[in-house]
Amino acid sequence: MTELSGRLQATFVPAEDAIAWWGVAELDDAVREHGLPMGRPGVCRLAVADRDGVRPASVPVRFADLDAARQGLLMLDPRARVGASLRAWRDAARLLDADDEAFGWLGARMPPAAHAVLNADGTAITAAPTLLAQFRQAVATRIALRSTGIATELRPYQVHGVAWLSARPGLGHGGILADEMGLGKTVQAICMLATRRSAAPHLVICPTSLIGNWRRELARFAPATPVVGYHGASRALPQSYSPGTVVVTSYPVLRKDEPLANTAWDVVILDEAQQIKNPEALASRAAAQLSAAVRIAMTGTPVENRLEELWSVLNVTNPGLLGTRGRFRQRFVAPIEQRRSATAAAALNRMVGPHLLRRTKAEVAADLPPKQYSTIVCTMTDEQARLYREAVGKAFAAGLGDGIERSGRVLALLTALKQICNHPAQYLHEDTAQPGRSGKFDRATEMLTEVVEQDDRVLVFTQYRAMGELLSKHFGTALGVGPIPFLHGGLSTQRRDQLVHAFQEDDDAPPVLLLSLRAAGFGLNLTRASHVMHYDRWWNPAVEEQATDRAHRIGQLRTLNVHTLVTGGTIEDHIAQMHENKRGVAEIVSGDTQAALARLSDDDLHAVLALDPGAFA
């Protein structure tokens, strides 16, 4: 049992973006008695003291949101009988506009209880000046987020992530944001960029398939941020930039592009940093040579376990931190990989820890909803765009007719367009789907790789048997986890049961299960999946939701991530936006989408189907 101090204590906990009240048995009563905000209940790893010494403990706390906590501290009765740690944080709340010297004095007289936040192995607490600096950064970040008009409510761990990112430039080096997939790395990076309205522009580098998604997310979360897309043959950088401009480009462009290399950037974000895991690769070298105030890498794969890759990424974000590659091998790779040296591993953790922020879904579970939806806008390849334009042009040139004939032709055209969005190989009836030909296909592969590496399980839905076969074949080799089963209507009931059973019960079964949307409507219990991916759209939210619920169980504690892939600028995208905005032709939004489309005039139909060039600019 924890030896309690008897008086109410307070400690700023950066990871929770909150001040923790703790230290007395009747915690809720004490918090209420002093007029402090109740916040949310939780358990926090803190140092506590008793007669024998100071030791780590799991302490019941109330986490008060930083803004509310500051208000409460400012209102606190000066005569209140509370712990010295709480009085110290009241002083910190009052000091916010003061200078560094005043904070220096406060840091010197804070009791350890005020900064009792433990490190990962529970052997040390954060130093007072460090925690005060993080407190000021967190408050400044919140103020900046409010004044920038960020169009979303961030979760506490995300606010901490933004504060962590925003502190990097001041510390003079970059870092790696390595949160698990589904925790919102992109939105945290966008908030960091949007709150730094520097004269020098920012640069986002991502896989080609994600360019559209970045532009969309920037417009959605930080509508005031000027964004410039920089890819394609006719790309050009502007002559001058308005403050805080974000340029979005891709790794293939980065490899050999002089204008990028000749620009002085403020923040450079390297999304999907697996792309620079090989230090010899052109992209890695180009990234390391960019002129930037700070370089931030983002990845969902746990790089810290792959030493050579870790070196390569840190060589871009924090040059020199780990020494030369050869020396790193001598000091760390050989000792850790060959003989599991605990001293080398601990030393490496100490060196890398401050520069890597990784949270898992399990760690932030309390902040997450039971189901979390995300739409990933994928960028078309040139081949897809050409086939798409040709299909639309041909259909309209031949005429769509009317009546039954029109329905049939519109349906055929829609099917063709959806196949092209999926993969040209599906449209062209080829046996094998290669990477590099479909934005959605490449993005799906990247995401599933991450899920598999996280030891998570995922269901992938498609409405097309042919696409399911192509995906099954491709994932079977690309993911390296053996053949990927495909559950569809053509299988016997017995075989379907086998697949479901293996996915649910068998630890050796592949962690990915492909399903045809139609075959997976009812009765399947696939709750072991923590991710669901809709590879293509049914355009009936109810059907999709029913499929999603194969993996969701009421009362399930773990968050289910639902990822929907959409090809930017296409029919998929237009209809997804109509569903989201609940705007547009009523039947498209609520009823039978395909029938509704068939009833549109040629002009209206063309407007919905035609490729939106804006999605490519």
Binding site: S5, R7, Q9, G23, A47, V48, A49, D50, R51, D52, G53, V54, R55, P56, G83, A84, S85, A88, M110, P111, P112, A113, A114, H115, N119, G122, T123, A124, I125, T126, A127, P129, T130, G320, L321, L322, G323, R327, F328, R329, Q330, R331, F332, V333, A334, P335, Q338, R339, S341, T343, A344, A347, R350, M351, P354
Partner: protein
């Protein structure tokens, strides 16, 4: 892949003390010493002037302690000067590392990093004769690996003054440094 023992010139200097070619043929105990170093040797302390290790052999643990003469004062001063110069020339070395140039500098100034076997004062709880026993040899192999991981240790072993390590991380306070009486401040 780098050598298992003596991947850096710093660790190699220590390996050479037992794999010396000047003696009459290789020591027959060395293969077994490497096996022990690989599998069952735990260095419990390595600091200025001494190394201690536990070496487990068929269920029993031999305790080894090796005392190493520190450098004479003038050598320590010279070493400190060379370290400072090397670090200034190689700004931004990773924590715990030393430039390999420095090792060559030391040799040029006749400063030996490692201690020759005959100058070490070693003890082991085993009863084996002759000395050094296989456990002492295993300890030196294990020490060489520690030095490979953190070359700065090579200098720390021989000098109390040559400051090569950065001070403790200013962002953290170790629990054992905290006084329970003043923890809550009232």
């Amino acid at each position: 892949m780098p050598a298992e023992f003596g991947a850096t010139p710093w660790g190699r200097a220590w390996v050479r003390t037992i794999e010396s070619t000047s003696t009459a043929g290789p020591n027959a105990l060395l293969p077994r010493a490497r096996t022990l170093a690989r599998n069952t040797t735990t260095v419990v302390a390595a600091g200025t002037g001494h190394v201690e290790a536990d070496v487990a052999v068929s269920g029993e643990v031999c305790r080894v302690r090796i005392d190493l003469p520190v450098w004479p004062d003038e050598t320590q001063a010279e070493a400190a000067r060379l370290v400072a110069k090397a670090m200034a020339e190689h700004r931004g070395m990773a924590a715990g590392d030393l430039p390999d140039m420095l090792e060559a500098d030391f040799r040029r100034h006749a400063i030996s990093i490692a201690v020759r076997l005959e100058e070490q004062h070693s003890g082991c709880t085993c009863r084996a004769r002759p000395r050094p026993c296989v456990h002492i040899l295993a300890t030196i192999y294990a020490l060489a690996q520690l030095v490979d991981e953190r070359p700065a240790l090579a200098v720390e072993l021989r000098s109390a003054t040559a400051k090569v390590t950065v001070a403790a991380d200013p962002d953290w306070v170790v629990l054992s440094d905290l006084d329970p009486a003043g923890f809550y401040g009232d």
